[in-house]
């Protein structure tokens, strides 16, 4: 079972899918007296803006974007938790607006992570409960639960309450739940968020195996560029609810030439450093200061993308020395998906440069 990038069989197709949220402004204790006025102040957020994507059968597809870009809303619309305001999506051949039961049965869902389980129940009890919601016969469910507990190396602790589990173990239970009814499509919303590197690696390996060995179609949302780069057949960038690019990680990275990319880690950069470097490199597409957290040992980063950046490295270093900015490291070439995202949107993927 392998993914065919030429295939025109699609497991998920969104058609102009749009979702807006009205954010109500807090009106204070006597706000109800000012109803008409306050309604005008309600702010509309466009979480998904006419999204059109096609995900091939058995594809491992990444949706990459910063917090609040619309990734989770997309997953929630596809899984019928939310109803789009406009447009629709076809999931496994079923319309999310009209054939909700069949869409739900086609999907395995991981959204919200470890918090979405019953911590006062054991792993086995959790899985048994959710198996009934997927109309699985008890005898078959028991067998399937044993299999999944084995796969996720949880058999030894299957009868302990989840409150005694680590975050990573609970996340494994959440993924096992998504696999209970052996669905053809998995929607995984930030499945490695908050996990330590060891658990994150285990989860990534599981996801790869589900795609490659079991032929599942996987829609993975993440803001970890390395994760998307390592795992995904194709990646879509989403920003402010809009899809800004869709392609394979390699083709996306080819949008930034090695000679066009420079990343410098610095300590205590002045606030106006972007403007100063801009005056040195007027032809650069993006000059972005990504603040770090020096108290936590995380330096700031200056990303320069576009133009003949490589040629001007010496000039930039001289300038930083004049400004008494301490340089931690300097990295030229080998663009990342984040560089492409910054080039396309001018926005960084990860808050504070942390991952």
């Amino acid at each position: 079972m392998t993914y065919n990038e030429e295939s025109d069989v699609f497991s998920i197709q969104t058609k102009n899918m749009t979702k807006k949220f009205a954010k109500k402004k807090h009106r204070g204790f006597f706000g109800f007296l000012r109803r008409e006025q306050s309604k005008k102040n309600n702010h509309i957020t466009v979480a998904l803006d006419k999204v059109n994507i096609k995900i091939r059968s058995q594809e491992l597809f990444g949706l990459l974007g910063p917090n609040g870009s619309g990734k989770t809303t997309m997953i929630k619309c596809l899984s019928t938790i939310l109803i789009p305001d406009e447009g629709t999506a076809i999931v496994n051949g079923f319309d999310i607006r009209k054939e909700t039961s069949k869409v739900r049965a086609s999907l395995g869902l991981v959204v919200g992570g470890e918090r979405t389980l019953y911590w006062k129940l054991t792993a086995r009890d959790n899985l048994m409960y959710f198996s009934s919601l997927y109309k699985m016969q008890r005898r078959y469910a028991k067998k399937r639960i044993d299999e999944l507990l084995e796969v996720f190396q949880l058999s030894d602790r299957a009868d302990e309450r989840l409150e005694d589990y680590s975050t990573g173990m609970r996340q494994k239970v959440a993924i096992a739940r998504a696999l209970l009814h052996d669905p053809p499509i998995l929607l995984l919303d930030e499945p490695t968020l908050g996990l330590d590197p060891n658990f994150a690696r285990q989860i990534r390996n599981q996801i790869r195996e589900l795609s490659e060995k079991q032929g599942k179609t996987v829609l993975l949302t993440t803001h970890y560029m390395d994760e998307a780069d390592q795992l995904c057949d194709r990646v879509a960038f989403i920003n402010n609810g809009k899809i800004v690019a869709v392609d394979t990680p390699n083709r996306l990275k080819a949008m930034v030439k090695e000679t066009e990319r420079l990343e410098i880690t610095v300590y205590r950069p002045p606030a106006d450093i972007e403007e100063h470097i801009r005056s040195l490199l007027p032809e650069a597409d993006v000059i972005k200061l990504i603040p770090g957290d020096e108290a936590e040992g995380i330096p700031s980063k200056i990303k320069i993308i576009g133009g003949s950046t490589e040629k001007h490295v010496g000039k930039i270093i001289d300038f930083l020395r004049i400004k008494n900015v301490r340089i931690g490291s300097l990295d030229v070439g080998v663009p990342t998906l984040e560089d492409v995202f910054i080039k396309l949107t001018g926005t960084k993927l990860i808050e504070g440069g942390k991952q």
Binding site: T80, R104, A105, T116, Y118, K120, Y129, F130, L133
Partner: protein, 283 residues
């Protein structure tokens, strides 16, 4: 159709109800102290009524009370009202609280994103919410039987159970209304308590329905609790059989049907509305 999709069957629906019930019982057992409260509290619950009876009528029976109600024993009269009323408070608040708990735990999205029939989940929740009331009711009845002259035969108890089930069904319908409010407004407790008090005042929990002003009697006759209390008192205290109270039984069945249909319609409406506004995923 692929194997991942199964049609809903009676068996799969019952399985959802059962697993929902089991899940909630396991939650209950995770906090066992509350069970001690439910079983011990009914013992103390009787004391104020005994003392009140002694202060007002110098004992536990009253001729004037017998003229108004047909029975001189006012404590069994009140116990029946209170036991049935305890189903009101736990069910009205319980269902809304259950939905709220699922929302706070983050599990509500998963329940609503599953392909099963949501009605089965709600029935399972309602059944589990009745457990605490039933433990409480059994304790209250058992203690009342020991303390007061209530003659109970198995033959009389079967119709009583039947009426309690009818009452619970009507309250399930109403509790769905509160579950629907909980989806939208993220809490229904205040509303549930208010409606609980309306039941307490306008149904004959502690006094005969005739004690109420005429307009209040009319309103009280829209409430399922009113009919349940009248029927159970007739069966247990006055020795009547179901045929003597068939009009009240019929009224209770009609109110149940209206409440259940209205409850499901409102819940489905609120589910769709909150999915459109995004409120469904808010805490």
């Amino acid at each position: 159709m692929d194997s991942f999709y199964q049609q809903s069957t009676l068996r799969s629906n019952l399985s959802v109800v059962w697993n929902e019930l089991v899940k909630n019982i396991k939650f209950l057992l995770a906090y066992p102290v509350i069970i001690v409260f439910w079983t011990i509290f009914p013992i103390f619950w009787h004391i104020p009524f005994i003392l009140q009876g002694q202060a007002l009528v110098g004992g536990l029976t009253s001729d004037s009370f017998a003229q108004a109600t047909g029975t001189p024993n006012y404590i069994p009269f009140i116990v029946i009202g209170a036991v049935l009323n305890s189903y009101v408070s736990t069910l009205l608040n319980g269902m809304g609280d259950n939905i709220r708990r699922e929302s706070l735990q983050g599990t509500l999205d998963y329940v609503l994103a599953a392909p099963c029939n949501k009605a089965s989940v709600l029935v399972g929740k309602a059944l589990s919410e009745s457990i605490s009331s039933t433990i409480f009711a059994i304790s209250q009845f058992a203690i009342s039987l020991l303390l007061f002259p209530i003659s109970v035969s198995l033959g009389a108890m079967l119709p009583v159970f039947f009426i309690i089930i009818l009452l619970i069904l009507g309250l399930y319908g109403l509790s769905l209304v509160f579950a629907a409010f909980s989806l939208m407004y993220k809490q229904s407790h205040g509303f549930g308590q208010t409606v609980g008090y309306v039941f307490y005042i306008f149904s004959p929990v502690r006094y005969p329905v005739e004690s109420l002003p005429f307009a209040a009697q009319i309103f009280g006759k829209l409430l399922p609790l009113t009919y349940a209390i009248i029927i159970v008192r007739s069966l247990m205290l006055l020795g009547a059989d179901l045929s003597a109270v068939y009009m009240e039984v019929l009224a209770l069945v009609i109110i149940d049907a209206i409440l259940i249909v209205a409850g499901f319609l409102l819940f489905n409406y609120m589910e769709e509305k909150t999915k459109k506004t995004g409120e469904i995923s808010h805490y």
